[in-house]
């Protein structure tokens, strides 16, 4: 349904708005138990963000969307900057510059679009035909708009703010914006322009595929070496965006549906993981992996919810992450089969490899998290959190299971309407397989309790020695980091060679040094400059 030039209430908008409202509610419940100081400004900016997000989703006019988008960057800045921490304020500044700068790129993209279609009042979900990308200028316009979406959702190369925000901001803010709402908005706009505004050609698809695949692999490699729970989750929040972009890149309705489905799933399990990390931090007072260990015994609920969400994000069947990753692979294979362009075929197959490899690496880094936080020897005794802190993760992990088991009868019907008709070329019946696994486990337990009538508890055996030192599982990647080729890449990453913000900063400081070199305060130098300028003008006017 389209109302005038301003509003749009179609199925895609409704889908995204429903989930935005859902996450506002869930994180509000969590905040009641978590936020203890600066309540007024927190809830003020929290609610403003929610209203603006819903505004973006239901708006049709591009100029209004751009304004709301800019305000969202500002509220994000305010929410990160809540504490008086120096780190938080520098992170907030970085975020504001990256997100705001990419808003400028997006504006440029829309202006190009307006120039190409020669009309200034243009709307998403256009009445006229979508613009076919067939030359450099149209491709540029698409890339600029897409980069704006990338910065919001957090894809390479504009992802660098997310890990820092994850580490420095309050955990509710992280679960609210980078983990759920920003993903929903960024991917919504990308899906919207792919669906209604542009018709992608091979090069535009290749651009999205390359960006998606690089995002998946680089971010997950960085996540592997993190020692801070929240920063680790932050890098995963980047890496998962790659999958959504890979899904959308195919441009078909199946691809759109898979990207949107992964977006919804990601918002669910990632905010669940962040909230669980908040629980851990609240009870133990630390989010460094070295300080934690063995708390699975004391916080069983948080342990179970983290386990479910971790399996979900690693794509273990039967949880929801598996179903959406699987539909993404399916859309990529469909693209592989339908295209005749050999370069695109190569890119599709390589990005499929990257996506599958990224899934394995995700599992490895979550095994590291689970083992060093929840398993092993307890370092200190803590207790389980209160109701308002475990209820939201409970709901979210329940959704992980429901969307995994009943994907086709619940969420996919909803998404199907949003993305247009879908043809699923493969069907995975999760209920039977899950039933079999559960049956197997139950039978196994019966067999175990029947056969292990004599059970004895004894201290663990370590070659007959009494060892004081503990072996740390969080350092497992050191071997990987030491491999010759990867060592160089990791060194580059640690020196922030891949951080577009740091590189931009270096460039601007270089420029500033050059300018201050010119302004050295010596009168004859200025006179020389005046003379050169005068000569230049004379040449210009009297040549």
């Amino acid at each position: 349904m389209i109302i005038g030039d301003l509003f749009i209430f179609d199925n895609l908008s409704k889908l995204v708005a429903t989930f935005i409202a859902f996450f506002i509610l869930i994180i509000l419940i969590y905040s009641f138990g978590y936020i203890k100081e600066r309540k007024f400004s927190y809830y003020f900016w929290f609610l403003i963000t929610g209203i603006l997000s819903i505004g973006v989703v239901f708006t049709r006019n591009v100029w209004i969307i751009i304004s709301l988008w800019g305000f969202l960057g500002f509220t994000l800045f305010q929410l990160i900057n809540l504490s008086d921490d120096d780190k938080a304020s520098s992170t907030a500044k970085k975020t504001f510059i990256v997100v705001g700068g990419s808003d400028g790129l997006m504006l440029l993209g829309f202006i190009l679009y307006a120039h190409l279609t020669s009309s200034l009042s243009f709307n998403l979900a256009v009445d006229k035909q979508p613009l076919i990308i067939n030359n450099g200028l149209t491709l540029l316009s698409f890339i600029f708009i897409a980069l704006g979406c990338f910065a919001k959702a957090g894809a390479i190369p504009l992802h660098t703010w997310i890990p820092h925000v994850a580490k420095d901001a309050p955990v509710t803010v992280v679960a609210y914006l980078p983990a759920s709402l920003d993903k929903l908005l960024g991917i919504y706009l990308l899906a919207r322009i792919v669906k209604d505004t542009f018709i992608l050609d091979n090069w535009a698809k290749a651009f999205l595929l390359v960006m998606g695949a690089l995002t998946v692999i680089f971010a997950v490699m960085m996540a592997l070496i993190q020692h801070n729970i929240k920063k680790l989750l932050g890098y995963h929040a980047v890496s998962q965006v790659g999958y959504m972009i890979l899904g959308i890149a195919s441009g078909t309705s199946l691809g759109l549906a898979s990207g949107l489905f992964h977006m919804v799933n990601h918002a669910i399990y990632k905010s669940c993981l962040f909230l669980c990390a908040g629980n851990i931090e609240k009870e133990t007072g630390s989010s460094q992996l070295e300080d934690l260990g063995g708390i699975g015994k004391f916080m069983p609920l948080t342990f179970i919810f983290t386990l479910i969400a971790s399996f979900s994000i690693s794509g273990i069947p039967p949880f929801n992450g598996f179903v959406s990753k699987w539909t993404i692979y399916q859309s990529l294979l469909d693209l592989f089969n339908t295209t005749t362009f050999i370069t695109l075929k190569v890119i599709v197959s390589l990005s499929l490899v990257m996506a599958l490899v990224g899934s394995g690496l995700t599992l490895a880094s979550f095994l590291k998290l689970i083992s060093s936080v929840f398993l092993g020897k307890p370092k200190k005794i803590v207790r389980e959190v209160g109701f308002s802190l475990y209820f939201p993760p409970f709901i979210l992990s329940l959704l992980c299971i429901i969307f995994g088991l009943f994907a086709y009868s619940t969420i996919l019907k909803f998404i199907e309407k949003g993305a247009g008709g879908i043809y699923f070329s493969g069907l995975w019946r999760p209920l039977l397989s899950t039933g079999l696994i559960v049956l197997g486990v139950v039978l196994g337990l019966i067999l175990f309790f029947f056969s292990a009538r004599i059970t004895r508890y004894s201290p663990s055996y370590i070659g007959g020695e009494v060892l004081e030192d503990e072996v740390k599982s969080e350092d497992f990647y050191n071997t990987i980091k030491d491999l010759s080729l990867l060592k160089k890449i990791y060194n580059c990453a640690e020196n922030k060679y891949f951080d577009i913000y740091e590189q931009g900063k270096r460039l601007i400081f270089l420029l500033g040094r050059f300018l201050s070199f010119l302004h050295n305060g010596v009168l004859p130098t200025y006179l020389v400059w005046c003379l050169i300028g005068m000569l230049g003008l004379l040449y210009l006017f009297f040549r």
């Binding site: 294979l333 095994l367 083992s371 397989s433 197997g440 201290p459």
Partner: protein
């Protein structure tokens, strides 16, 4: 229970029997390589039977739920994979998209072995667990490439049943990319089963069975059962991928060839260090697989 279910049940027992027997064959061949007599053919079965009659020792600092659940979940996921494979290979009843389901279901055993090791809070098990994570990263990547070579060669279908249909005229191993894919799949097989030279996570002499160090009695029995099933289903998967022509009685000699190759590799190689395993898989086999994938896109 319908007739088809009964057949499946029979096939499952058959798979277990063949798997246990293949495992024995590998042990027997190893014994002959070392001029020993070797165990009788029923050795694995009575080993498992004996384990289930033993008492269960649980380390006191362990996380008991995960410790007990891990072997059982491992076994049931392996059985599920075996059922899916049996249905596809012997009954020709697959479902669309079963390849990725098999890929991800095969990760679950390694996942729970690692979780079980970490939950036992034994330092040596932790060492084994971290090694198993790295090993998993090594072999899964190579298997992914092998899988994609098969998918691309079959023209983009991703159902194992269809892939078998496409191999009616010629097996995929009769081509350059097919040979590369088969090679990668063999390395995967060796590493997934944790056989020398890729037994870094168990390594009896260094870390005393690493991931399994605290397991004994019925819980170790579950792991052994799962291993017997894997000795059937992993070779069958490789056969279905690359030697899919003529899967009647010929499947028997194909299985024997694969077991023979496994045992030969086992007995002529020493154990690699973790770093060497990773270098081999990531910097040699993975690029080889990428080359194989390009070859398969070009139709070789």
């Amino acid at each position: 229970m319908k007739g088809e279910d009964l057949i499946l049940f029979g096939l499952l027992f058959f798979s277990f029997f063949i798997g246990g027997w293949g495992w024995w064959l590998e042990r027997k061949l190893t014994a002959r390589f070392q001029y020993r007599v070797g165990p009788p053919w029923y050795q694995n079965f009575i080993d498992i039977l004996k384990l289930f009659s033993k008492e269960q020792i649980i380390p006191s600092p362990a996380n008991r739920v995960i410790f007990i659940l891990s072997p059982i979940a491992t076994l049931s996921s392996v059985i599920l994979v075996t059922i899916i494979l049996d249905r596809i290979i012997f009954l020709r009843e697959g479902f669309l998209g079963d390849l990725f389901v098999i890929l991800y279901l095969l990760i679950i055993p390694s996942l729970f072995i690692i979780l079980g090791a970490f939950s036992s809070s034994n330092p040596l098990a932790t060492v084994g667990g971290t090694r198993e994570i790295k090993l998993m990263l090594a072999y899964e990547f190579v298997f992914i490439l092998s899988l994609l070579i098969v998918i691309i060669k079959s023209g983009g279908v991703f159902s194992l049943e269809k892939i078998l249909d496409k191999q009616m005229s010629t097996s995929y191993i009769n081509s350059f990319s097919g040979i590369i894919g088969f090679l990668l799949a063999l390395f995967y097989l060796q590493a997934k089963l944790g056989i020398v030279p890729f037994d870094v996570s168990e390594a009896e002499q260094e870390i005393m069975s690493g991931v399994f160090i605290e397991y004994g009695g019925p819980l170790l029995g579950f792991y052994r059962l799962a291993r017997a099933f894997l000795y059937f289903s992993l070779p069958m998967l490789v056969i279905a991928f690359f030697m899919g022509k003529n899967l009647g009685w010929q499947i028997a000699y194909k299985y024997l060839i694969i077991i023979l190759i496994i045992s030969v590799i086992k007995n002529i190689n020493p154990r690699l260090r973790v770093k060497d395993v990773l270098s081999l898989f990531w910097f040699f086999l993975f690029p080889l697989g990428i080359v194989g994938m390009f070859l398969s896109i070009l139709g070789y």
